[in-house]
């Protein structure tokens, strides 16, 4: 049970949502947007999250659709992970989102919530980073489209009152080959100690990583490094200068084990792409 009172809003349009946010903000309240609500419920129940008002985005049509546009395939941010997993156009997206939580909870967790929520793993983001997806962000001044690799720096950078309405991926990535490796403490249904998603296209190998640092990342410098013509050993030895943060140490795993997993699996990825 959430043992504090809060206001609840369920706007029907983007404008209504940003307006109510602005109004609440003006009243000095601390509103939060949400979609699936799994983090809101679990964290607020334990007192780890406080808010004066919740703005439920589930009724916003633009966020609930999956459609093929001329310039790519659009994923509404309200799509649940199970809905995203059922769309067969991008097998990597399917494979990545199906590793998050368990089947029941994936009926609630949404793409937008997984990527913009409080938990640091944001694994649904990994394929979008690799595909250089467009992210659509709504704010008081309307909708803007950004490259996700520009909008993302440790987290998706959103200004006050902004929220993500969807992602768009170019159809040309549909057939791109991929590798996906996810390592856990013991049970499959747990946070990743390491999650590496990787594709290889005409530009070379690309990797996006979650679990290793306090936030997921993809970096062009890192991609450049692993595509150099050095031996795998050398690539791995010199890789840390391209890792944007320190390696995470927590009660799920030590930094040294995460580091070992990263090295083993980066080697595996280089080896497999080498064979291919």
């Amino acid at each position: 049970m959430i043992s504090f009172d809060f206001e609840y809003y369920r706007p029907d349009s983007i404008k209504e949502a940003t307006d109510v946010y602005a109004q609440l903000h003006e009243e000095g309240k601390s509103p939060l947007y949400f979609s699936g609500g799994t983090e809101v419920i679990t964290m607020a129940r334990k007192g780890a999250l406080k808010f004066d008002a919740l703005i439920d985005l589930k009724n916003i049509e633009e966020m609930n659709v999956y459609r093929k546009d001329e310039d790519g395939i659009y994923f509404g941010a309200n799509m649940t992970l199970n809905e995203a997993a059922e769309m067969k156009d991008f097998p990597l997206i399917r494979e990545v989102v199906r590793t998050i939580g368990d089947h029941t909870i994936r009926n609630r967790i949404t793409l937008g919530g997984n990527i913009c929520g409080r938990l640091p793993y944001r694994e649904a983001l990994l394929p979008f980073l690799l595909y250089d997806a467009q992210v659509y962000i709504a704010g008081i001044n309307g909708i803007k489209a950004l490259s996700i690799n520009e909008a993302f720096n440790k987290r998706l950078v959103l200004s006050k009152g902004e929220f993500v309405i969807g992602f768009k991926v170019k159809e040309s990535f549909m057939d791109t080959k991929y590798l996906n490796i996810r390592k856990v403490k013991t049970s499959e249904i747990d946070y990743p100690l390491l999650h590496i998603a990787s594709i290889k296209d005409e530009e070379g190998i690309k990797i996006a990583v979650s679990g290793l640092c306090a936030y997921p990342f993809r970096s062009y410098e890192l991609d450049k490094h692993i595509n150099c013509n050095s031996e795998p050993d050398e690539i791995i030895n010199n890789v840390y200068q391209f890792i944007p943060g320190t390696i995470k140490e927590d009660n799920i795993a030590s930094a040294e084990y995460r580091k070992a997993l990263f090295e083993l699996n980066l080697e595996k990825i280089l080896e497999k792409w080498g064979e291919a």
Binding site: M1, S3, K183, K185, S187, E188
Partner: protein, 772 residues
Amino acid sequence: MGSIGISAVRKEAKDKVAGRLKYLNDYNSPDLLYGALKTSTFAHGRIKSIDISEALKMPGVRAVLTGKDLPYRFGIYLGDKPPLAIEKVRYYGEPVAAVVADSQREADEAVEAIKVEYEALEVINSPTEALADSAVLIHENMDEYPHIDAIRPEPGSNIANRTKIRKGNIKEGFEKSHVIVEETFSFPPSDHVAMETRAAVAEILGDGRIVIHSTTQAPFVVKNLMGAYFGVDPGKVTVIAHAIGGGYGGKAGMQLEGLVYLLSKAVGGKKVKLVNTREQDMITSPGHIGLEAKARIGASKEGELMAAELLFMFDSGAYADYAVNISRAAAIGCTGPYRVPNVWCDSLCVYTNHPFATAYRGFGHIELAFVIERTMDILADKLNMDSMELRMKNAICKGDTTPTQSLLDSNTGDLKACIKRTAEMIGWQEGSRVVTEDGKIRAKGFGCLWKAPAMPTNTDAGAIITFNEDGSINVHCGVVEIGQGIKTGFAQIAAEKFGIDVEQVHVIMDVNTSISPHDWATAASRGLMMGGRAILSACEDAISQIKHTASQVLRCPEEDLHVWGGRVFIKEEEHIGLLVKDVALGYVYPDGNAIGGQVIGRGKYISRRLTGIDPDTGKGNPALEWTLGAQAVELELDPTDCSYRIIKAACTMDVGKLINPAMARGQIAGGMAMALSFARQEGFEFNDRGHVINRDLRSYKTLRIGDAPEYLVDYVETPQGDGPYGARGLGEQGVIGIPGALANALSRALGVPFNHLPLTPESLWKKRRDNR
């Protein structure tokens, strides 16, 4: 007819799978008030102040209580625990205050408004720390605590119980040994993670009667302890147990019942409900005991065990609860199912500042078996002997004596046959360590089990049988349905006795201490044997009453009659008889005269010839029956990162007589799943202040269905002469040998000894690295 040995569908199955079976928290009523607990944020601390003034002013709040309002001491064996902490807290999560309010929300909000200030005390984070000379005392006034005779606390220390076993001559045993191994073992406290969290509802009626509904495995224990703790007349206490969503020992003894009664009392006897949140169920209520142990075992050149010297230091946490008796049970069975002529064991129950421990499936045996089964493999390595052969050679049999020097009689199961069958199922001869083409290691490990109930010498069961107009039977027994399927097993036993279909036997699901015949507790895997015996005795009583009435109508001696298949008839002239339905509620002659009246079968059983144990040597006969078995695990390990998948888990158990194969398999496979989860991935993690870090299911991970191996289950049937149709207990036993078997398989896979649980891939990886 044959109702024994068939997989009758459990009586509550349809309601269970349809979600219609009601658990305690599903019951609500308009007059219900709700309780909530404020819990400690210190593992060891002096309570400087508790400010309840804000909480008292909040809407809907009826009462706010703190420890000083409740001058009681709880404890099933040792009275050491206040219902709410008084003066100091001894573990992280201990209740310090309680609220009663009109709604759960108001109760929870009021809890938030209670302000507690603590002064930190030195935290004891392990039994070793607790036993150090310089250790602070967690219970300074232990000498004032009441306790039962079987428990031996040592005031002035942190030892709540010490049980000693002295069999043979340990010195000579080691002198005769050619090979001696010595190792240390440990695992942290953990949780049962029953699907249903604990709950209780209490009210005090106008005439002073107390009615408690509880998720309890032990309604009669609760009733008895209500008398002991509060001086209330036990006849005025009614405890009602509905079907519960998993017990595993965690719902035995007294749980929330005492406190919820006090909450009800604080609001004039109104009905109050108290339900654990998942987090409270994990750390505020008691969980699984932790252990640190040392084992030293000697054997002859041929691998014959000569001596075992064992020190168990159980991590009881802040209070003794069942842990004192767990340490005693572990001493009684300390050698595992092996013939050892010379035994020295000290089994200690040690206070720490961890969440406290209660009964957990296996009750001392899963713990001791981890120590023994690992040591057996280490010994086999040193002897250069096959570890399965070593077990076979030393398997305990009829004619051997237990650590308490009790002789194993003709009811003893055939452990060697179990080992042989398990070895076949797991493919032991095909190799216990194989490297696959893709560089993975497939390894197998063995672990044997034994278990006897740890219970009072006068443990009993009772049963009542009544009849319906169609001759069908109602069976009423005080054993609680905790998911084990006992009610259906009882129906099968009664059906077999009467030669009727199981469908013709109805069971009463709830247990009500004012109505149900007395039963000790649904614990110790004794329900089938003891309850089954009581039901057989009730059937015989009913049958003699049926014969008595029928003999008058049929004009023949009672002893010439037989009751079978819904009829009572003359043995040699089967066509001369009556339908049971025409006799069981009184026989009516054609002219309307009636005789006999209804049949009410009364049955009872009390354990036979049990004794306590000698405080200095452990000599005695405390075990009703020993269930024996052999288990094995096969896994596939990736040596690069030490991640592994459990492929197979096998168990052969000597169950005496299989009553219901599907449910027996469910119990045994379920036990193996629970033990694999415990050994592979469970265990509380503590920081240096004694806080439990992984106190929710987000961070405390249990085995999922997708992680489950293939379960191979088989049986040996050496009859338990005094069991119903030869059956003996099998409910808990499936857990016992598995942690040892898993650790043995992993140790074999990597050539590194793994003696500490849980066996996470990272812990294997680190140990291997440190060993290089």
